[in-house]
């Protein structure tokens, strides 16, 4: 006999898969979008350290790459904290969808 829907629920509502929120995309919340301007990037990684949404991708060498737009909520902390190069920001915020 097949089990009822509620019989399949995990006992005590325990979540068994660690980090499963990665399946829940929050990128759709964004109204502003960070733009990475690589030539102005000094790879300080402040954007990575201060991102509340773990949405700055870093490669095996420890260098930042493109944003993870599946999760970036567009808060703009990265852009504000970006020191840039010679006064030119490596991250700027743009209106989403434009």
């Amino acid at each position: 006999m097949s089990k009822k829907f509620w019989e399949e629920l995990p006992q005590g509502s325990v979540v068994l898969e660690a980090g499963s929120s990665a399946e829940f995309k929050t990128g759709g919340w964004r109204s502003m979008r960070p733009k990475w301007i690589e030539e102005n990037c000094i790879q300080c990684l402040f954007c990575w350290m201060y991102c509340p949404d773990m949405s700055v991708k870093v490669n095996a060498e420890g260098k930042r790459e493109e944003f993870d737009f599946d999760f970036c909520k567009g808060c703009g902390i990265c852009a504000l904290e970006c020191p840039g190069k010679k006064g030119n920001k490596a991250i700027v915020m743009e209106e989403e969808g434009k």
């Binding site: 509620w6 006992q11 509502s13 660690a18």
Partner: protein, 392 residues
């Protein structure tokens, strides 16, 4: 056969916990349960158990620490009474909803106000809907025996629910009675090794306990929780059968006393059942066909089984050692619930007795029985609910 001793209910329960040797106990003192954990503390400090005893700053933290410890993955116990249980109230639901098999002797005591330290069931009845298994004990022997059985039921892999083992404050917790202890080796094999389910301490397989569950799943989780409770009676009977094999002492979902040919019956829980049985014997000697039903498992409540046991009686008096102000006593509500499924609808009365430790004396039982005889004859109940033993 185990050793025969003269001990109080608290002492017997503390001995049971010592023999079970839980991994963690977190507790806070409260009369009349204080003495239980106090005795257990000396077992800890004398190295007689392996338990980590967490001496918290409140019952709320006691239950919170028990919940953390149980989720971590080990055997957990605590004990409390009255206000202590009331302070735990929030956490009782969380222990049950999280399916953590914590075992807690509850030394039943009245709730404030006015402040009172003596025995009644208002604490336990207030926790009726928390999702805990509740087992009520008549005397020290039963409290001792039920403690072992509670661990087996609570920790059963098909159950995994917390359980309270209730005994009457002072009347049982502080009275010295004859108790037959079970040998340590027998306890060990009866209770068995604790089996962890999704332990937090399994750090290589991280789990998250306590998610937010909103409208799309909460209802289903509660449905599942109810289902687990419905499995408890069968498991409790299996465990009781094993227990009987070990000790010769028989336990059921409830205890019927001279009920087979009874025409009238009293339903009463815990220590008051002992007094009532004596009076019933006197009436039996006079030819009155009266019996008693003493619920043992109050949650889950065995409605159908109790209905079947009471199917031939004409009138029932339900004695509640707790009240629901503006409503009927909690046990009365359950018994009338059971009566609903019966073809014969006996007349049922409700007597509130013994609040705040007020003595339940033989003459109170006699008055109830005399009235019950009349009710059975006439089929009429004048006052459904009435206080007995009250000064007027």
């Amino acid at each position: 056969m185990g050793k025969i001793v003269a001990v109080t209910g608290n002492e017997a329960c503390a001995q049971a916990l010592k023999q079970i040797n839980p991994d963690v106990c977190a507790a806070y003192p409260i009369t009349p349960a204080t003495d239980l954990m106090q005795r257990f503390s000396s077992y800890v400090n004398d190295g007689k158990v392996d338990t980590e005893l967490v001496l918290v700053e409140s019952e709320h933290s006691a239950m919170s620490a028990c919940i953390g410890a149980a989720a971590a993955g080990g055997r957990v116990a605590t004990a409390t009474s009255s206000q202590g249980l009331a302070l735990m109230w929030e956490m009782l639901h969380i222990a049950a909803g999280t399916r953590l098999p914590i075992v807690m002797p509850l030394v039943n005591r009245a709730l404030s106000a006015p402040l009172n330290i003596h025995g009644d069931h208002s604490d336990g009845m207030g926790a009726r809907d928390t999702g805990w298994i509740q087992i009520y004990s008549e005397n020290a022997q039963e409290a001792y025996d039920n403690t072992f059985q509670a661990f087996r039921i609570a920790e059963h892999l098909d159950i995994r629910l917390p359980a309270m083992v209730c005994m009457d404050g002072f009347i049982v917790s502080h009275s010295i009675e004859r108790v037959e202890y079970i040998d340590d080796a027998d306890v060990k094999s009866f209770v068995g090794k604790f089996q962890a389910v999704n332990p937090l301490l399994d750090i290589d397989n991280p789990k998250s306990y306590g998610p937010l569950i909103l409208t799309d799943l909460y209802h289903e989780y509660k449905r599942a929780q109810h289902e687990v409770m419905t499995k408890v009676p069968n498991i409790a009977l299996e465990v009781a059968a094993d227990f009987e094999k070990m000790t010769g002492r028989k336990y059921g979902l409830f205890e019927p006393y001279r009920l087979d040919d009874a025409e009238i019956a009293i339903v009463v829980m815990s220590s008051a059942a002992g007094t009532t049985k004596d009076i019933i014997d006197n009436y039996r000697d006079k030819g009155v066909k009266i019996g008693l039903l003493k619920p043992r498992l109050f949650r889950p409540f065995p409605y159908l089984e109790i209905a079947n046991a009471l199917k031939d009686v004409k009138a029932i008096a339900v004695l509640d050692r707790a009240d629901s102000f503006g409503g009927y006593g909690p046990l009365f509500s359950e018994i009338t619930g059971a009566v609903m499924s019966m073809d014969t609808k006996p007349a049922v009365t409700n007597k509130i007795f013994g609040l705040g430790g007020r003595d339940y004396l033989p003459d109170q039982a006699e008055k109830v029985i005399d009235e019950l005889i009349k009710v059975a004859e006439t089929g009429k109940v004048e006052n459904i609910k009435e206080y007995i033993g009250v000064r007027e």
